[in-house]
Protein backbone atom coordinates (compact mmCIF):
# COMPACT_ATOMS: atom_id res chain seq x y z
CA UNK A 1 0.00 0.00 0.00
CA UNK A 2 1.66 3.20 -1.10
CA UNK A 3 0.96 6.42 0.66
CA UNK A 4 -0.12 9.17 -1.63
CA UNK A 5 2.33 11.82 -0.71
CA UNK A 6 1.26 15.27 -1.53
CA UNK A 7 4.08 17.76 -0.89
CA UNK A 8 1.70 20.15 0.81
CA UNK A 9 0.38 17.54 3.15
CA UNK A 10 0.30 18.33 6.85
CA UNK A 11 2.87 16.35 8.82
CA UNK A 12 1.10 16.99 12.07
CA UNK A 13 -2.57 16.67 12.91
CA UNK A 14 -3.79 19.03 15.60
CA UNK A 15 -6.86 16.90 16.33
CA UNK A 16 -5.28 13.49 16.13
CA UNK A 17 -7.19 12.12 19.13
CA UNK A 18 -10.57 13.02 17.58
CA UNK A 19 -9.47 11.91 14.13
CA UNK A 20 -8.39 8.50 15.40
CA UNK A 21 -11.81 8.01 17.00
CA UNK A 22 -13.50 9.02 13.77
CA UNK A 23 -11.25 6.73 11.71
CA UNK A 24 -12.25 3.79 13.87
CA UNK A 25 -15.93 4.64 13.56
CA UNK A 26 -15.51 4.83 9.80
CA UNK A 27 -13.80 1.45 9.47
CA UNK A 28 -16.38 -0.04 11.84
CA UNK A 29 -19.14 1.37 9.60
CA UNK A 30 -20.54 3.42 12.45
CA UNK A 31 -19.90 6.89 11.04
CA UNK A 32 -22.49 8.81 9.04
CA UNK A 33 -21.98 9.24 5.29
CA UNK A 34 -21.28 12.95 5.81
CA UNK A 35 -18.64 12.28 8.45
CA UNK A 36 -17.01 9.72 6.22
CA UNK A 37 -16.95 11.99 3.18
CA UNK A 38 -15.60 14.89 5.17
CA UNK A 39 -12.81 12.72 6.54
CA UNK A 40 -11.92 11.17 3.19
CA UNK A 41 -11.46 14.65 1.73
CA UNK A 42 -9.47 15.80 4.72
CA UNK A 43 -7.14 12.83 4.79
CA UNK A 44 -5.71 13.82 1.42
CA UNK A 45 -4.14 16.81 3.12
CA UNK A 46 -3.10 15.22 6.38
CA UNK A 47 -0.39 12.59 6.59
CA UNK A 48 -1.08 11.34 10.14
CA UNK A 49 -4.77 10.88 9.24
CA UNK A 50 -3.92 9.06 6.03
CA UNK A 51 -1.45 6.76 7.77
CA UNK A 52 -3.80 6.24 10.67
CA UNK A 53 -6.59 5.27 8.32
CA UNK A 54 -4.41 2.75 6.50
CA UNK A 55 -3.12 1.30 9.74
CA UNK A 56 -6.60 0.77 11.18
CA UNK A 57 -7.77 -0.82 7.96
CA UNK A 58 -4.78 -3.19 7.86
CA UNK A 59 -5.24 -4.10 11.48
CA UNK A 60 -8.89 -4.93 11.08
CA UNK A 61 -8.17 -6.99 7.99
CA UNK A 62 -5.30 -8.84 9.69
CA UNK A 63 -7.47 -9.74 12.69
CA UNK A 64 -10.22 -10.97 10.41
CA UNK A 65 -7.84 -13.16 8.43
CA UNK A 66 -5.61 -14.50 11.19
CA UNK A 67 -7.86 -15.10 14.18
CA UNK A 68 -10.41 -17.48 12.74
CA UNK A 69 -10.75 -21.07 13.89
CA UNK A 70 -13.29 -23.72 13.09
CA UNK A 71 -15.45 -25.61 15.53
CA UNK A 72 -14.07 -29.16 15.77
CA UNK A 73 -16.34 -31.85 14.32
CA UNK A 74 -16.41 -33.81 17.55
CA UNK A 75 -17.75 -30.78 19.42
CA UNK A 76 -20.38 -30.26 16.77
CA UNK A 77 -21.41 -33.90 17.09
CA UNK A 78 -21.38 -33.89 20.86
CA UNK A 79 -23.59 -30.82 21.02
CA UNK A 80 -26.07 -32.40 18.65
CA UNK A 81 -26.00 -35.64 20.64
CA UNK A 82 -26.61 -33.80 23.92
CA UNK A 83 -29.48 -31.89 22.40
CA UNK A 84 -30.94 -35.09 21.11
CA UNK A 85 -30.82 -36.56 24.61
CA UNK A 86 -32.38 -33.42 26.08
CA UNK A 87 -35.07 -33.54 23.48
CA UNK A 88 -35.76 -37.19 24.26
CA UNK A 89 -36.02 -36.44 27.96
CA UNK A 90 -38.35 -33.53 27.41
CA UNK A 91 -40.59 -35.13 24.84
CA UNK A 92 -40.81 -38.67 26.23
CA UNK A 93 -39.79 -39.07 29.83
CA UNK A 94 -41.31 -36.01 31.42
CA UNK A 95 -44.86 -36.45 30.08
CA UNK A 96 -44.78 -40.16 30.96
CA UNK A 97 -43.40 -39.87 34.44
CA UNK A 98 -44.49 -36.44 35.43
CA UNK A 99 -46.06 -37.73 38.65
CA UNK A 100 -42.82 -39.30 39.74
CA UNK A 101 -40.54 -36.38 39.21
CA UNK A 102 -38.06 -36.00 42.01
Amino acid sequence: MLTNKNPEMKKHCEHQGDCMQLIQRIIDKEATAEEEQLFLNKKEQCLPCQEGYQLEQSLKKAIKEKCRSKCPDELFKSIKAKLFILLAIISILIPLFCDQNK
Binding site: M1, K5, Q16, D28, L55, K60, C67, K70, C71, K82
Partner: protein, 209 residues
Protein backbone atom coordinates in the same frame (compact mmCIF):
# COMPACT_ATOMS: atom_id res chain seq x y z
CA UNK B 1 -20.26 -3.45 35.84
CA UNK B 2 -22.18 -6.18 34.14
CA UNK B 3 -24.99 -8.16 35.59
CA UNK B 4 -23.86 -11.48 34.19
CA UNK B 5 -26.99 -13.41 35.04
CA UNK B 6 -29.37 -11.15 33.14
CA UNK B 7 -30.18 -13.75 30.51
CA UNK B 8 -31.32 -16.14 33.24
CA UNK B 9 -33.77 -13.68 34.61
CA UNK B 10 -35.89 -14.17 31.56
CA UNK B 11 -38.52 -16.70 32.40
CA UNK B 12 -38.32 -20.10 30.81
CA UNK B 13 -41.15 -20.02 28.32
CA UNK B 14 -42.38 -23.36 27.15
CA UNK B 15 -42.13 -24.29 23.53
CA UNK B 16 -42.90 -27.57 21.76
CA UNK B 17 -39.75 -29.74 21.74
CA UNK B 18 -39.88 -30.38 18.01
CA UNK B 19 -40.24 -26.68 17.35
CA UNK B 20 -37.37 -25.94 19.70
CA UNK B 21 -35.16 -28.40 17.88
CA UNK B 22 -36.01 -26.94 14.49
CA UNK B 23 -35.42 -23.43 15.75
CA UNK B 24 -32.11 -24.48 17.24
CA UNK B 25 -30.89 -26.10 14.05
CA UNK B 26 -31.99 -23.23 11.87
CA UNK B 27 -31.03 -20.24 14.00
CA UNK B 28 -28.22 -21.40 16.28
CA UNK B 29 -26.20 -24.15 14.63
CA UNK B 30 -24.90 -21.87 11.85
CA UNK B 31 -23.10 -19.78 14.48
CA UNK B 32 -21.21 -22.67 16.06
CA UNK B 33 -17.89 -21.85 14.39
CA UNK B 34 -18.09 -18.23 15.49
CA UNK B 35 -19.04 -19.28 19.02
CA UNK B 36 -16.17 -21.71 19.24
CA UNK B 37 -13.75 -19.12 17.98
CA UNK B 38 -14.99 -16.55 20.49
CA UNK B 39 -14.76 -19.12 23.30
CA UNK B 40 -11.25 -20.07 22.25
CA UNK B 41 -10.10 -16.46 22.21
CA UNK B 42 -11.62 -15.87 25.64
CA UNK B 43 -10.30 -18.98 27.38
CA UNK B 44 -7.05 -19.54 25.44
CA UNK B 45 -7.66 -23.22 25.90
CA UNK B 46 -9.29 -25.72 23.54
CA UNK B 47 -10.82 -27.83 26.26
CA UNK B 48 -12.29 -24.84 28.08
CA UNK B 49 -13.58 -23.47 24.78
CA UNK B 50 -15.19 -26.84 24.11
CA UNK B 51 -16.96 -26.79 27.50
CA UNK B 52 -17.97 -23.17 27.14
CA UNK B 53 -19.60 -23.69 23.74
CA UNK B 54 -21.36 -26.80 24.94
CA UNK B 55 -22.71 -25.07 28.05
CA UNK B 56 -23.80 -22.11 25.97
CA UNK B 57 -25.68 -24.31 23.52
CA UNK B 58 -27.44 -26.21 26.26
CA UNK B 59 -28.39 -22.99 27.99
CA UNK B 60 -29.57 -21.46 24.72
CA UNK B 61 -31.69 -24.54 24.16
CA UNK B 62 -33.14 -24.30 27.65
CA UNK B 63 -34.08 -20.67 27.14
CA UNK B 64 -35.04 -21.00 23.52
CA UNK B 65 -38.60 -19.98 24.36
CA UNK B 66 -37.38 -16.50 25.17
CA UNK B 67 -35.58 -16.13 21.88
CA UNK B 68 -37.63 -14.08 19.47
CA UNK B 69 -37.35 -15.47 15.95
CA UNK B 70 -36.38 -12.74 13.56
CA UNK B 71 -34.05 -11.09 16.06
CA UNK B 72 -30.33 -11.55 15.72
CA UNK B 73 -29.61 -15.08 16.97
CA UNK B 74 -25.86 -14.64 16.86
CA UNK B 75 -25.95 -11.66 19.24
CA UNK B 76 -28.26 -13.57 21.56
CA UNK B 77 -25.90 -16.57 21.63
CA UNK B 78 -22.81 -14.45 22.12
CA UNK B 79 -24.45 -12.75 25.04
CA UNK B 80 -25.16 -16.10 26.70
CA UNK B 81 -21.62 -17.23 25.95
CA UNK B 82 -20.08 -14.11 27.43
CA UNK B 83 -22.24 -14.41 30.56
CA UNK B 84 -21.30 -18.06 30.93
CA UNK B 85 -17.66 -17.19 30.58
CA UNK B 86 -17.79 -14.47 33.21
CA UNK B 87 -19.82 -16.55 35.65
CA UNK B 88 -17.64 -19.63 35.23
CA UNK B 89 -14.40 -17.85 35.51
CA UNK B 90 -15.50 -15.89 38.49
CA UNK B 91 -16.85 -18.90 40.35
CA UNK B 92 -14.45 -21.64 39.51
CA UNK B 93 -11.20 -19.74 39.98
CA UNK B 94 -9.53 -21.92 37.48
CA UNK B 95 -6.15 -20.82 36.38
CA UNK B 96 -4.83 -17.50 35.25
CA UNK B 97 -7.91 -16.34 33.36
CA UNK B 98 -9.71 -15.43 36.56
CA UNK B 99 -6.74 -13.53 37.87
CA UNK B 100 -6.47 -11.78 34.57
CA UNK B 101 -10.12 -10.80 34.60
CA UNK B 102 -9.94 -9.34 38.09
CA UNK B 103 -6.78 -7.58 37.23
CA UNK B 104 -8.47 -5.99 34.25
CA UNK B 105 -11.32 -4.78 36.38
CA UNK B 106 -9.02 -3.22 38.89
CA UNK B 107 -6.65 -1.80 36.38
CA UNK B 108 -9.14 -0.32 33.98
CA UNK B 109 -12.29 0.57 35.85
CA UNK B 110 -12.82 4.29 35.54
CA UNK B 111 -10.11 4.65 32.98
CA UNK B 112 -12.12 3.80 29.95
CA UNK B 113 -12.76 7.35 28.99
CA UNK B 114 -9.16 8.34 29.38
CA UNK B 115 -7.62 9.34 26.11
CA UNK B 116 -5.26 6.61 24.94
CA UNK B 117 -1.72 7.48 24.07
CA UNK B 118 -1.22 8.87 20.61
CA UNK B 119 -0.89 6.58 17.67
CA UNK B 120 1.51 3.72 18.21
CA UNK B 121 4.72 3.65 16.32
CA UNK B 122 3.38 1.23 13.75
CA UNK B 123 2.78 1.33 10.01
CA UNK B 124 0.11 -0.31 7.91
CA UNK B 125 2.83 -1.96 5.81
CA UNK B 126 4.31 -3.53 8.94
CA UNK B 127 0.95 -5.01 9.90
CA UNK B 128 0.48 -6.33 6.37
CA UNK B 129 3.85 -8.07 6.48
CA UNK B 130 3.28 -9.67 9.85
CA UNK B 131 2.86 -13.37 10.20
CA UNK B 132 -0.43 -14.65 11.55
CA UNK B 133 1.02 -15.82 14.84
CA UNK B 134 2.14 -12.32 15.76
CA UNK B 135 -1.38 -10.99 15.32
CA UNK B 136 -2.95 -13.84 17.31
CA UNK B 137 -0.26 -13.57 19.99
CA UNK B 138 -0.92 -9.84 20.37
CA UNK B 139 -4.67 -10.47 20.59
CA UNK B 140 -4.17 -13.19 23.21
CA UNK B 141 -1.94 -10.86 25.21
CA UNK B 142 -4.72 -8.26 25.54
CA UNK B 143 -6.63 -8.08 28.82
CA UNK B 144 -9.81 -10.08 28.34
CA UNK B 145 -12.26 -7.15 28.21
CA UNK B 146 -10.37 -5.59 25.34
CA UNK B 147 -9.80 -8.90 23.59
CA UNK B 148 -13.51 -9.59 23.81
CA UNK B 149 -14.60 -6.32 22.25
CA UNK B 150 -12.02 -6.44 19.46
CA UNK B 151 -13.06 -9.95 18.48
CA UNK B 152 -16.74 -8.97 18.52
CA UNK B 153 -16.09 -5.94 16.38
CA UNK B 154 -13.32 -6.87 13.97
CA UNK B 155 -13.88 -10.57 13.56
CA UNK B 156 -17.61 -10.93 14.02
CA UNK B 157 -18.72 -7.56 12.64
CA UNK B 158 -21.17 -6.75 15.38
CA UNK B 159 -22.38 -3.15 15.42
CA UNK B 160 -21.63 -0.91 18.41
CA UNK B 161 -25.25 -1.21 19.44
CA UNK B 162 -25.16 -5.01 19.32
CA UNK B 163 -21.92 -5.08 21.29
CA UNK B 164 -23.47 -2.79 23.90
CA UNK B 165 -26.24 -5.36 24.33
CA UNK B 166 -23.94 -8.38 24.34
CA UNK B 167 -21.59 -6.85 26.87
CA UNK B 168 -24.30 -5.02 28.78
CA UNK B 169 -22.44 -1.72 28.73
CA UNK B 170 -23.36 1.74 27.37
CA UNK B 171 -22.51 2.46 23.74
CA UNK B 172 -20.04 5.17 24.79
CA UNK B 173 -18.12 2.54 26.74
CA UNK B 174 -18.12 0.29 23.66
CA UNK B 175 -16.45 3.07 21.70
CA UNK B 176 -13.88 3.96 24.34
CA UNK B 177 -13.07 0.35 25.22
CA UNK B 178 -12.58 -0.49 21.58
CA UNK B 179 -10.40 2.54 21.09
CA UNK B 180 -8.30 1.73 24.11
CA UNK B 181 -8.02 -1.95 23.22
CA UNK B 182 -6.79 -1.07 19.77
CA UNK B 183 -4.25 1.34 21.22
CA UNK B 184 -2.85 -1.43 23.43
CA UNK B 185 -2.88 -3.85 20.49
CA UNK B 186 -0.94 -1.40 18.32
CA UNK B 187 1.60 -0.87 21.07
CA UNK B 188 2.09 -4.60 21.42
CA UNK B 189 2.47 -5.08 17.67
CA UNK B 190 4.88 -2.17 17.49
CA UNK B 191 7.04 -3.79 20.16
CA UNK B 192 7.02 -7.12 18.27
CA UNK B 193 7.95 -5.29 15.10
CA UNK B 194 10.78 -3.50 16.82
CA UNK B 195 12.17 -6.77 18.12
CA UNK B 196 12.05 -8.33 14.71
CA UNK B 197 13.50 -5.29 13.04
CA UNK B 198 10.58 -4.25 10.90
CA UNK B 199 10.45 -0.63 9.96
CA UNK B 200 8.46 1.12 12.64
CA UNK B 201 9.14 4.76 12.02
CA UNK B 202 5.57 5.97 11.66
CA UNK B 203 6.22 9.29 9.96
CA UNK B 204 8.98 8.30 7.58
CA UNK B 205 7.94 10.71 4.88
CA UNK B 206 10.74 9.85 2.52
CA UNK B 207 8.53 7.81 0.19
CA UNK B 208 11.31 5.54 -0.96
CA UNK B 209 9.30 2.35 -1.04
Amino acid sequence: MDTPIDILEVEEKSIAPEKAKALFEKEFMPHLDAMYNFALRLTNDEEDAHDLVQDTCLKAYRFIGSFEPGTYAKAWLFRILKNNFINDYRKKSRGPSKVEFEWVEQAYVGEEDAEPAFQADLKAETVNEMMGDEITKAIQALPVDFRMIIILCDLEDFSYEEMAKILNIPIGTVRSRLHRGRAILKDTLASYAKKRGYQTDSLSANGTF
